[in-house]
């Protein structure tokens, strides 16, 4: 009686032949073909077995052998290709980087700020850096010699004063874009502007540069209220600093907004606690105070509901329209990002490649 062979046994034999081929080294293509696919090759030897397969399994066995033949053919081809094309390389050798430059951090911040605000319907604008006193102060409810002007250390241009518009100044804030935007739109709502531009103030230390950038939001329409301002600020804080960020608004005073607000974001260095240690039991004066913030918060900038006099200056009826505005420094907002730790804002404008190349 002939010894019968099962499909499982056949499968085993097939896989033996496959792995034997894969381990082959040193044989040429022709030799491999003879060894595996030749008249007396391994394949033909195996194919003879089919006689010993049960009648009902013959079809599957045939398919399996067919598949093996294809595999042997393809693999021998592939092994030949490998032999001719592949040469050894050292995968541990260091990479050679293409020469790349860097976008300035302020540009990166402005791009991000723009994207955040555009997503909620703000339109980016840019207005004069050198402007009339009227747009920078007077139309913003800051009459000449008002004490509020002290906070804006102003550069003046050596040029004649205009009877109506006053002196020519380097704008101290992007708020000069408020009345200009209202004029551009012929005093027609809706306004939802994000104005990003260069500003100048007569001060220079580790947290101030004579030139800096601000972004100014202005929204005017019927039915705009404090909640919308709060919503916009919260949205920005979460988008720009990440979901953990807390923001708060507090009363403040600006001549061109009423009510006026100061906007704070929680300090990432002390996690908004104001202290660098966790020893809550110690009395306040014994604890290690955070030097980067004011009691857990960073003042980022100002905001408020547009003052009726400013709406009037821009041709809007303050009885019908309301609006809000906010203005923050790009540099300050950016340097508060977690882990940046830029302790001297002047670096941004130093042109020092060792600094700039890190961005």
């Amino acid at each position: 009686m002939t010894e019968m062979i099962s499909i499982e046994q056949l499968e085993l034999k097939i896989s033996d032949i496959k792995s034997q081929l894969e381990k082959e080294e040193g044989l040429s293509k022709a030799d491999l073909q003879i060894k595996y696919l030749g008249k007396k090759g391994l394949f033909n030897e195996l194919a003879k077995i089919i006689a010993k397969v049960n009648y009902q399994d013959k079809k599957s066995a045939g398919q399996m052998l067919n598949e093996l033949k294809n595999f042997l053919n393809e693999t021998i081809e592939k092994m030949e290709l490998q032999k001719t094309k592949v040469k050894w390389i050292d995968l541990t050798q260091p990479g050679i980087k293409p020469k790349v430059g860097h976008m300035h951090p302020v540009s990166q911040a402005m791009e991000e700020i723009t994207r955040i605000f555009e997503r909620i319907g703000f339109t980016r604008a840019r207005y004069q850096e050198i402007d009339w006193d009227w747009y920078v102060f007077e139309s913003l409810n800051m009459p000449k010699s008002h004490p509020a002007r002290d906070e804006w250390e102003t550069f003046f241009i050596d040029a004649p004063t205009d009877k109506k518009l006053g002196k020519i100044v380097l704008t101290t804030h992007t708020s000069n874009g408020q009345v200009r935007e209202m004029e551009r739109l012929n005093s027609k709502a809706p306004i939802r502007m994000i104005n990003i531009g260069r500003c100048y103030r007569r001060q220079q230390d580790t947290t101030h540069t004579q030139m800096f950038h601000q972004f100014e939001g202005l929204v005017i329409d019927k039915g705009i209220n404090i909640q919308h301002l709060k919503g916009t600020l919260d949205y920005f804080a979460q988008e720009f600093y990440g979901p953990g960020t807390k923001s708060r608004i507090r009363p403040f005073h600006f001549q061109f907004t009423e009510p006026s607000l100061e906007v704070d974001f929680s300090c990432h260095i002390c996690n908004g606690t104001g202290f660098l240690d966790n020893e809550v039991k110690k009395s306040q004066d014994q604890r290690n105070k955070c030097k980067f913030c004011k009691s857990g918060w960073h003042e980022v900038g100002g905001a408020g509901m547009v003052h009726p006099n400013v709406l009037k200056a821009g041709g809007f009826n303050p009885e019908v329209y309301t609006g809000f505005a906010f203005g923050w420094g790009v540099e300050r907002t950016y340097t508060l990002k977690e882990g940046l730790n830029i302790d001297d804002i002047r670096l941004l404008y130093s042109g020092d490649l060792k600094f700039l190349e890190q961005f």
């Binding site: 339109t123 050198i130 929204v219 919260d234 009423e258 009726p308 404008y349 042109g351």
Partner: protein, 664 residues
């Protein structure tokens, strides 16, 4: 303005058990910001930022009043203690010992109030410890009691006061005339500095027209307390705020008194300050009240009421706040409130002149109600579609990304430059000048980005082959108007000219701008300067310039507005050629100073089947060109190319004396 308020001093005016941390947290949310708490002389001292409109909070009592209202909102018990100032002051000396008041002539247009009293026999006692401690805690110097009392009461109650040396004042004639100074008068302050008036400063003068005080700002030497002072005239005046500011700013005398008085301190406070001052002089310097109290108050008036509707308040706040809540907040802030139907009439207390329009009332309601209690939502109003013309931030960002990706470093340099840098671009007269520069390297508004960028490259000698760029404005002046603000793209590089030109060419390709041409500026004054031009919609547009700087750096400056005209959002798509293309190299020896751009153009012009000529390599005077032959209609064959192959060397020889290397 910041004010330092010690906790224990505060508790003399405020009844509360709140801790310093609670006070800081709650008050910062609804009122002035308590920025830090210091520990000084054994007590917590609040460092509080007071906004310029709230000079009423620039005192211990003023802060106590604010804190009382705010803590109550957080269910922390707090109340303002009633004033304990002794209201009735009698003359302490016998009629013969009484000292006459000076002859006072006020001008109601210049001072709203003037009140004073003579205090005799002051002893120059040491300032008691408790007062010295508080002065130190609030960052003030300690002298002796006669001087320190004035600073102490000012800090406690918020109205500046001044102690004159009574005898010196009487020696100058015993007159106080409130007047505006004329131009060219002089006065010397108690620290010995002499000033000349510009005219319009409010001053006290004696009968001989001499200035004897700079009221609300600083005392003058001729009437100030000195070591021999025996009798004191304690005086408070209320000079018009704008006049105080004018004199203080003009002469840069920025005393605490001036900084308070220029912000409209309530003249009603003067009475309490005077009385408290008398009390302290009596107890600390053994002074006797030697005159009746003089008080002229022509400027006394109540503030105008402010009318607002409940509807308006709720429009601003976006919530439905009830009338009784509005009323209770305003009354806690010491406003009187009359409400009929929807209309609310608010009568602010005299110390709150900042409450003058409806929006001011909205602010008071909002902050005391608490901004933290408002919902936070985004607008559901229409989104504007009307964009600003002449700007394209997408293109700006694209250029920045592209240039930085191919190895250039973006720079932000100052718009203001030094005289030396300005002169590299144009004469100083052609620049806008800052009349009050902070530093002498930032005086002129620049007309070109190139010198600034060149300077930055020079400051980074450690980086070889450096290319930097900036997109920023330049400011050509216009007489009688604002300057132009022209956005420029500047590039400066230490790389070779072909490399920098290549940067510009690939940038323009990225912006889908058609091929650029460099037109050489031929003038005896300039060399190595080219104008970058493109053909846009059939017209030649000059976009800017490219030049070799004296330092051998290559500089490019492009006018952004013109660039915007030429850019496109997409390429002018060309299907790939259906007929065969023939490419071959030809090398020529060109005589020195031959313009290779012209040579290329000459080859191109020879036949319309010469579609592209590229400079492949250059070795000494040998230039190898790659010439592409292509015809849309048929495959180009040797038969077509053969005559051109012969023609090219012939033509180049005749125009440029160019010699073919090898044979064709």
């Amino acid at each position: 303005m910041n004010i330092l308020i010690p906790h224990k001093w505060l508790l003399e005016h405020l009844d509360t058990k709140a801790t310093d941390a609670e006070i800081q947290k709650y008050v910062s949310l609804c009122g002035p910001s308590i920025e830090r708490i210091y520990q000084t002389e054994g007590d917590s001292v609040y460092d509080i930022e007071i906004t310029t409109n709230r000079v009423d909070s620039m005192s211990v009592r003023g802060i106590a009043r604010e804190i009382a209202v705010i803590l109550e909102q957080f269910d922390v018990k707090a109340s303002l203690k009633p004033s304990n100032i002794i209201k009735n002051v009698d003359v302490d000396v016998s009629p013969t010992e009484m000292l006459p008041l000076p002859k006072i002539k006020n001008d109601p247009k210049l001072s709203k109030r003037l009140t004073c009293v003579v205090l005799s026999g002051v002893n120059r006692n040491q300032t008691p410890d408790w007062m010295a401690k508080r002065l130190i805690q609030t960052g003030q110097n300690v002298h002796d009691a006669v001087i320190d009392i004035t600073n102490y009461v000012t800090h406690e109650l918020g109205h500046p006061c001044h102690a004159f040396d009574y005898d010196k004042l009487m020696q100058t004639g015993g007159e106080i005339n409130v007047e505006e100074a004329k131009k060219g008068e002089t006065f010397s302050t108690l620290d010995g500095e002499t000033f000349t008036t510009v005219g319009g400063e409010v001053v006290f003068k004696n009968g001989q027209n001499e200035i004897i005080d700079l009221p609300s700002i600083k005392g003058t030497a001729n009437t100030s307390i000195d070591d021999s002072t025996k009798n004191v005239l304690l005086l408070l005046e209320s000079i018009m705020a704008e006049k105080v500011r004018f004199a203080s700013m003009t002469h840069a005398i920025r005393t605490t008194a001036a900084q308070l008085m220029e912000k409209n301190v309530d003249p009603n406070l003067a009475e309490d300050v005077l009385l408290k001052g008398i009390e302290l002089y009596k107890s600390l310097t053994d002074a006797k009240v030697a005159s009746k109290i003089f008080d002229e108050y022509p400027g006394k008036k109540s503030l105008d009421p402010v009318k607002i509707t409940l509807k308006r308040i709720n429009e601003y706040l976006g919530i439905d706040i009830k009338l009784d809540k509005v009323q209770s907040i305003l009354e806690q802030l010491e406003c009187k409130v009359k409400a009929s139907d929807d209309l609310i009439t608010v009568y602010p207390p005299t110390f709150r002149p900042d409450l003058s329009i409806p929006a001011d009332i909205v602010e008071e309601i909002a902050r005391i109600y608490g901004y933290h209690n408002f919902p936070s939502i985004l607008m559901d109003t229409p989104i504007p579609t009307n964009r600003q013309k002449g700007v394209n931030f997408i293109i700006e960002d694209r250029i920045k990304r592209f240039l930085s990706s191919i190895g250039l470093q973006e720079i932000y340099s100052y718009s203001m430059v030094s005289e030396e840098i300005a002169l590299k671009t144009d004469t100083l007269e052609n620049h806008l000048k800052i009349s009050n520069p902070l530093t002498d390297d930032r005086i002129y508004m620049r007309l070109s980005l190139i010198p600034s960028l060149e300077e930055i490259i020079d400051q980074n000698p450690q980086t070889p082959n450096l290319s930097v760029f900036e997109i920023a404005n330049v400011y050509p002046p216009i007489e009688g108007n604002l300057p132009n603000e022209n956005l420029h793209l500047g590039i400066v590089s230490t790389e070779s000219y072909p490399k920098v030109r290549g940067i510009v060419e690939s940038l323009f390709e990225n912006l889908f701008i058609e091929k650029i041409t460099i037109e050489i500026v031929s003038s005896p004054m300039v060399s190595n300067v080219g104008i970058i031009t493109v053909i846009h919609q059939g017209k030649k547009v000059e976009l800017g310039g490219i030049k070799l700087l004296q330092s051998n750096k290559v500089a490019v400056e492009i006018d952004f507005a013109k660039l915007l005209q030429a850019v496109s959002t997409h390429p002018n798509y060309q299907p790939s050629p259906k007929t065969a293309v023939m490419v071959e190299d030809m090398t020529f020896t060109l005589p020195p100073k031959t313009l290779v751009g012209d040579v290329i153009n000459s080859i191109l012009q020879l036949s319309k089947i010469i579609t592209k000529v590229e400079l492949k390599t250059k070795y000494k005077q040998n230039y190898s060109f790659v010439i592409t032959y292509h015809d849309d209609d048929k495959n180009v064959s040797s038969v077509d190319v053969e005559p051109l192959r012969k023609k090219i060397p012939k033509v180049l020889d005749s125009i440029y004396k160019a010699k073919l290397v090898g044979t064709v």
